[in-house]
């Protein structure tokens, strides 16, 4: 095909824009707003309809139409009703609980910290490295040989039963499990339970539950006990839920249950099943396995059973086991019948009554055997006691709390209880009696519960609520006096009053430093020190105050282990980003934070994970964004220089810095209103230079390309032509290095799409870039197109041709008399060449080459079968659209080419008919405009292909 002469259609952008705008209709002041009136009319008509329909509806508020959804859910949400009812297993005992679900919801408000919140904490806290064992007899209870009075035949029977059990292969003893193995095993059991249940092996399920409960009576490896408790109660919860669901399904298949159903509502089958469960569990021989499942499911929330279970727990000898059993009972009690406060209180008083058990001989012996120290042992109690107390004190009247306090006081050596009291009771309650508490803490036995924990709990309460104003200082002094006497390194956990004063905190920090430095004691107390930092950060959101504390930075220096240090820095930065509202230039803050950020940055090494790097970068970026020197642009630039030197390893930070500098340049331009003085011109050139030398140090090729383009645009806007040229040239020369595929979020993806996007973006910028005087016409465009031609595109890809097609509109735009857009104070090619025919000829020649290339490609595609033809069609169509929009179709050859392309794109029937129809409509619409008449003739020649 001979080369086609290109003729650009002359455009009058102004008039086109005007024509494209919607017609403006003048609005008379009296008229309602057109959009507004529609809604008003609508609601009026609807309301009218409602009145006509029924008279009662008019009473509902006239302004707001009732939302059908919310009216459906008026009252209790059926789902939550179900969930709450699931806890209410009243029918089991045939005792009517008679408490409606809604009442319960009122009893337990959202301010009650649920057990699930504690669960993770307990699991994390109580761990062990010792070997554990699970001893499971899936068979019958064989703990005891046949009773003294049993007969021969019974023995025989027992033996036979045992044999049966052996056949199931279910007796297992797993020794030497690590903690993780243990957790996995328990989880496995949980799964087994569900499976057994769903496959209708209810007895097996019950056996699993019993065996699991039995594990709870085993206190070997006592440090792990709280975690074990958490794991196993999970299983029990599952079991309770399963049983309940079964009974529920029995009840509800016949009719809809009322939300507070009682024994009378339940049908016989369900009742029978309940009784069955009840009897099964009641006949379990051993106390603990009987107690737990009982608690977990059957006796949900009935006035008489909760107290009985409470009493039954008295039978557990080991105080630790007993206390956890109580905690579980309280938990179930709270879930099911929070209105039954009595049993909770009874639980607590029973606990007090049996408190001396902790110091009994058998416990001591066990501890000696397991080599566990008393303080450690005592801390094992705290989750359970905390929980019990939390349940008891939840919305309890003041008098009850006082009574409890009194009873606690009466017991000797009550540090453990004291701790839980402070932990669980209302903060206001504790705060009001802070002096009392300190006195009590002082009286506590040194050998028992660690005192620093007591102060920690006290501090926690005081942090939530203010003690009386006048006592504040004395409390701090008192507490501090005691604390300084404690020579434990962990005593760093300090009580902080809410809204502490800077001076006080500073003193406290100084003291901590003084005590922690000898013998590098701080190495053992990192978590505590960290919590101190966190508390300080909670109160001080003003960083200028924070950093002006002279002891704060030395305190930070105590964190010498890298990981901890980075964590601390991170939390500081998080708080900073969250609370710093305005940009700052305070040198104290900047210095300190730069130091903090540098610490974070320096932790990055070759082994750091990508995610880690990203989150660190995010924090540092947040800091950089918050730095502003106002009008002192040079200072800002020098800060960026410094930051670049400091954070050279984190790429996102460098990108942020380049953006900051570019923004700086634009800000300068705004301040100077576009007229740079000599000084500011030099400054923006310095900015450009900064970007220019920073960009190459990035590894990501696309951020480099985009930043080159962006910085070039900024330089152009600031009239730094040679800098802009340099940027664009750099971008062009970088193009060949673009890899064919890049990793996006860990997956390898073709870079083609990104590249096309970038090139289109680039091309539209090139319209306003004047040709450099020392180079030829269209130097950059040619350079770019050459690079595109030489680039090794993917095989079987039309990307190259698409670039060519997208370059055509650019060239068409370049040959207009006035350009579509321009940069203020920069003369684009339109001014340089002033519509010189030579320039236009050059542009046209370039177009011809491009069209020739595209046509060659189309021809090559035509030779291929299948996919090739389809691609040919779509390429031909896009070239056609391009010709239509930008070519002058009055020229016969172009006209003919356009028609040919149309036909080619329709030849194989792969084109999208809808878009063809729309294009045709568009052409016809266009043809009605005065200077476009020739298009109607084109339109006639374009035939729509009917589907064969």
């Amino acid at each position: 095909m001979a080369a086609v002469q290109w003729h650009t259609r002359a455009r009058a952008y102004e008039s086109e824009l005007r024509a494209a705008r919607l017609e403006a209709v003048s609005l008379e002041p009296g008229d309602p707003h057109p959009l507004k009136s529609i809604t008003v009319m609508d609601s009026k008509s609807r309301r009218g309809g409602g009145r006509r329909g029924s008279t009662s509806s008019s009473s509902s508020s006239g302004s707001v139409a009732p939302d059908p959804l919310s009216s459906m859910l008026d009252g209790t949400d059926p789902l939550s009703m179900f969930a709450a009812a699931s806890a209410n297993e009243a029918p089991v005992h045939g005792v009517a609980s008679g408490v409606s679900v809604r009442d319960k919801e009122e009893e337990v408000g959202p301010d009650f910290e649920p057990w699930s919140a504690k669960r993770a904490e307990v699991l994390a806290r109580f761990t062990t490295t010792e070997k554990l064992s699970i001893n499971l007899f899936m068979g019958s209870d064989k703990g005891k040989a046949s009773s003294p009075s049993s007969t021969v035949s019974e023995k025989v029977r027992n033996r036979l039963e045992e044999l049966d059990d052996m056949e199931e292969g279910s007796q297992r003893e797993l020794l030497n499990l690590s903690q993780q193995d243990y957790v996995n095993r328990i989880e496995e059991l949980n799964q087994n339970l569900k499976e057994a249940w769903s496959s209708d092996q209810k007895v097996k399920a019950l056996k699993i539950v019993i065996q699991c409960s039995k594990l709870l009576s085993d206190t070997s490896v006592i440090q792990f006990y709280p975690s074990k408790f958490v794991l196993i109660t999970d299983i029990l919860d599952t079991f309770g839920r399963l049983v309940y669901e079964r009974i529920w399904s029995m009840c509800s298949d016949s009719r809809v249950m009322p939300d507070s159903f009682t024994a009378d509502d339940v049908n016989d089958t369900a009742k029978e099943t309940c009784l069955n469960w009840f009897f099964k569990i009641a006949s379990i021989r051993e106390l603990i396995p009987r107690l737990y499942p009982w608690q977990s499911q059957v006796l949900h929330g009935i006035q008489e059973t909760l107290p009985r279970l409470t009493a039954m727990i008295r039978g557990i000898g080991d105080p630790l086991v007993a206390v956890y059993a109580r905690a579980y009972l309280c938990r179930v009690g709270m879930e099911v019948a929070p209105h039954l406060k009595e049993s909770l209180n009874k639980n607590f008083f029973d606990l007090l009554a049996s408190f001396r058990q902790i110091h009994s001989d058998s416990v001591q012996n066990q501890l000696v055997l397991q080599r566990v120290e008393i303080p450690v042992y005592l801390t094992l109690y705290s989750p359970a006691i905390n929980w019990i107390l939390q349940c008891v004190s939840y919305r309890a009247p003041e008098t009850l709390l006082t009574e409890m306090m009194e009873r606690c006081k009466k017991l000797g050596n009550n540090a453990l209880l004291l701790n839980s009291v402070m932990w669980a009771f209302r903060a206001e309650f504790v705060a009001a009696r802070a002096t009392d508490f300190i006195a009590m803490i002082k009286d506590c036995d040194e050998a028992g519960f660690p005192k620093h924990l007591l102060f920690g709990s006290l501090g926690r309460s005081l942090a939530c609520a203010d003690p009386p104003e006048n006592e504040r200082l004395s409390i701090l002094n008192e507490a501090w006096k005691v604390i300084t006497k404690v020579r434990s390194p962990q005593r760093a956990v300090t009580p902080f009053l809410s809204n502490p004063q800077k001076r006080e905190v500073n003193t406290v920090l100084a003291d901590i430093i003084k005590h922690m430095t000898p013998d590098r004691a701080f190495e053992d107390a990192y978590p505590q020190l960290q919590s101190v930092i966190k508390k300080i950060l909670n109160y001080f959101h003003d960083f200028s105050v924070l950093f002006s504390m002279e002891r704060f930075l030395p305190f930070l220096d105590m964190f010498q282990k890298d990981s901890v240090r980075v964590d601390v820095c991170r939390s500081i930065m998080e708080v900073f980003i969250r609370h710093q509202q305005e940009p700052t230039r305070d040198p104290v803050i900047l210095n300190a934070l730069l130091h903090v950020c540098k610490t974070m940055h320096d932790s990055v090494n070759a082994l750091t994970l990508e995610d880690e790097k990203r989150s660190l970068s995010l924090l540092i970026n947040g800091f950089i964004r918050m730095v502003s020197f106002g009008r002192d642009f040079e200072q800002q630039l020098s800060f960026c220089v410094e930051a670049r030197a400091t954070f050279c390893n984190l790429e996102p930070v460098l990108v942020q810095l380049i953006h900051t500098v570019n923004q700086l340049a634009m800000e300068t331009r705004r301040v100077m209103r576009g007229n740079h003085s000599r000084k500011t011109a030099a400054f923006v050139r310095a900015c450009a230079a900064y970007s220019f030398i920073t960009i190459p140090s990035l590894t990501s090729i696309f951020s480099r390309l985009n930043l080159y383009l962006l910085s070039g645009q900024v330089a152009l806007a600031n009239q730094c032509l040679s800098q802009a040229d340099a940027f664009f040239k750099a971008a062009v020369s970088l193009l060949p290095e673009v890899p064919r595929s890049i990793a996006v979020e860990g997956k390898l993806r073709s870079s083609e799409g990104f590249l096309l996007d970038f090139i289109s973006n680039f091309l539209s910028t090139l319209l306003v870039v004047p040709d450099p005087p020392e180079q030829g016409v269209l130097y950059l465009v040619r350079g770019l197109l050459n690079m595109v031609q030489d680039y090794t595109w993917e095989e079987n890809s039309d990307a190259k041709v698409r670039v060519y097609i997208s370059a055509l509109p650019l060239l068409a735009a370049m040959s207009q008399e006035t350009y579509l857009y321009s940069v203020p104070k920069v003369d684009s090619n339109e001014m340089l060449y002033g519509g010189d025919p030579k320039f236009l000829a050059e542009v046209n020649r370039l177009c011809e080459t491009l069209i020739g290339q595209v046509l060659d490609h189309l021809k090559a595609l035509g030779r291929e079968e299948g996919a090739g033809v389809r691609r040919q069609g779509s390429l031909a169509f896009s070239l056609f659209s391009c010709l239509l929009a930008h070519g002058d179709l009055r020229n016969n050859k172009l006209n003919q080419l356009a028609v040919n392309l149309w036909n080619l794109s329709h030849k194989h029937g792969y084109c999208d008919t809808r878009s063809s129809v729309r294009t045709l409509d568009h052409i016809k619409h266009w043809a009605q405009q005065p200077d476009m008449a020739h298009l109607s003739e084109v339109a006639q020649r374009l035939s729509l292909q009917s589907r064969a």
């Binding site: 009773s147 007969t151 009840f278 106390l287 008295r314 039978g315 049996s354």
Partner: protein, 297 residues
Amino acid sequence: MSAALDIRLKRANKVYHEGEVLAGVVVISSKEAVQHQGISLTMEGLVNLQLSSKSVGVFEAFYNSVKPIQLITSNIEVVKPGKVPGGKTEIPFEFPLHVKGNKVLFETYHGVFVNIQYTLRCDLKRSLLAKDLSKTCEFIVHCQPQKGKVQPSPVDFSITPETLQNVRERGSLPKFLIRGRLDATNCVITQPLIGELVVENSEVPIKSIELQLVRVETCGCAEGYARDATEIQNIQIAEGDVCHSLPIPIYMVFPRLFTCPTLETTNFKVEFEVNVVIVLQDDHLITENFPLKLCRF
């Protein structure tokens, strides 16, 4: 040919009293029609007595078992020989639970040497070529609740080394004092056994405290009678060294089927006892026995 036979009683818990009507349906389900020679239902109540090998010797125990005592028997033909259509067929039936003469329907009881059992059997007879189908189903009989009121009979007890019988060396015993109370020894079978127990002091730590429910069955036979006590269930009420002088609840539910109201007839007796068993850390066993009288109200 897969026909299935099933008996479904009207009451889910299968509990009936004397004088009531045992009602239900026989369910025959099969894909095709079933040819049969008649379907009959048999209701029967039996007391099975077995002699313990301990009291009469192994040989006699096997061969000389006492003849079962029939309490009630009744047989009806539900369907005459013919054909049952395919699908699910339900045939309702009713049996009045009336006894002849001065016989009494004892409560259902599953024991070791005495078994009182009521069964309902459905037989579907077929021609020589096909096997007969049969299905058995147990139902439970409860006595009519007794009239009047049970007298609460609380029992207080205390166990010390001195109160113990059959001790060989009284001198070597450790010191202990355990007190307790049973709210009643005249128990209502549907109500749990309730009481409490206090370990006032004990030299040797306690390992476990248990409640042992024991049945005492007596069978009369040619050589006199045999009396045997066996354990029904054993329930632990305390584990480990419990807190001293803190009352521990005694609470035991009487298991169904394995217990019945205390029964005394000319041929056999069924009685119950409860043992409070205290196991010390050195495996000493202290047992205190309380006979119970169970009844139903």
